[in-house]
Symmetry: D2
Subunit: 136 residues, 4 copies
């Protein structure tokens, strides 16, 4: 299980005294980028191959708030991968007590020159790396 | 139909040259806050009554990117309201051509002194304002 | 005197209950972009001419905090313009009582193909527009 | 010399392809918070003592842009400390080549119950920790 550690920053809190909910979307990106790097598929290489992998959609459930100084463990996993579409799941836990902070999911497609492509056909090497992450 | 106008800012773009997807979550909040003010339920009054209405969850589908200088029309509506839970829907369109930029939904509960409460029981006046927004 | 109106958003507050100081830097950019548009020099035209005008430096003094729901009036003016360098000044006032929220200044140069250029030589039309803004 | 390491994130870039200048202000805060923790003066303790240390002003010079994936080394030091006012300096260098990304400075005062206080008188223990950081 891959985990990304993230410390909640002061500038990420809001007047309720907790991390503002929009920041979790940025944490998902940071965790996804780091996860891809760990599995041998750094974003820079994807971009260098002329492929973009934008966020097509996402959903998130906010459970227990976290705040400035908390360390959050973000478990990242490939939820689904078809060669054309990728879904990534995120479970965020407060490192102090294991409380689930949020659980989320993001969907991605692959673009080349602005058109949706099959990563399987476009780049078999990248495809194999993602396919190997699918849990049976 | 209530619509919030939002101009996409330079600082909201990313290296793909488009508005970064996390910013739409902030736009949803801005539009929701303005919508509540328009229907006679300003956030400041809710907070002054000791009630918080945090985001319990959200989902968003990204359709057509927008970028710096674009004006986006965000249609906001109460999707569902039970007296305890509130769902708000958002349809974002590029003002230039009407293209759907994103469609989204957010779920909210009501808290008083940190506990989930029924807004219907806690504040009948606020309750009526929201109930009147439910489309038949 | 050109003034940009900006409403402080919920997502811009921090756990002190006030607008986080980093957001004022974004407001400066928004106000500058709008000011340039008002004087006939929209950012998009500058970029279309292949010219970038990055922020070379800035300074800001924070005076009176503002918070969610406050409307801030940002007075923008060309402080100095030499044809090669541009300084822009910003005075932010709370619309409710005229209290100075912050005063700031940003410095800019002009780049073409990544090199510093004289706007005066590179684009006399743009140069004239900025020069006319210099207060005697 | 204390150094804070910060990886530039995708969501921090803008359409010029580089880290947007407003994000450096957040990095300054992150580095300052971590620096204070390292010298034995965590922000949480300062806040627990009822003392706030807001940013009274800042200035920054942007030198060499950095972008997504770059690691930036932020050297933090107490520039000046009088018991009433604190100035912190920041030198940001690209870890890859040592190029100076930005150099900056922030000024802080100390507040208790909303009033400016002398930290020297208010909290001699905190005062000693900061005083020991002043370079001769």
């Amino acid at each position: 299980m891959y985990t990304y550690l993230r410390k909640a920053q002061y500038h990420e809190t809001d007047k309720m005294g907790i991390v503002h909910h929009a920041n979790y979307i940025k944490w998902m990106e940071e965790a996804r980028v780091d996860f891809l790097e760990q599995i041998g598929l750094p974003f820079q290489e994807i971009e260098a191959a002329g492929i973009a992998s934008p966020v097509a959609g996402l959903s998130i459930d906010y459970r227990t708030p976290c705040t400035f100084g908390d360390t959050v463990e973000i478990e990242v996993a490939v939820e689904k991968y078809t060669g054309v579409q990728l879904s990534v799941s995120y479970t965020m836990k407060n490192a102090a007590d294991g409380a689930v902070v949020a659980s989320a999911s993001s969907r991605h497609c692959f673009l080349k020159a602005g058109r949706i492509v099959s990563l399987k056909r476009e780049n078999p090497a990248f495809h194999e790396i993602l396919r190997a992450q699918v849990r049976d």
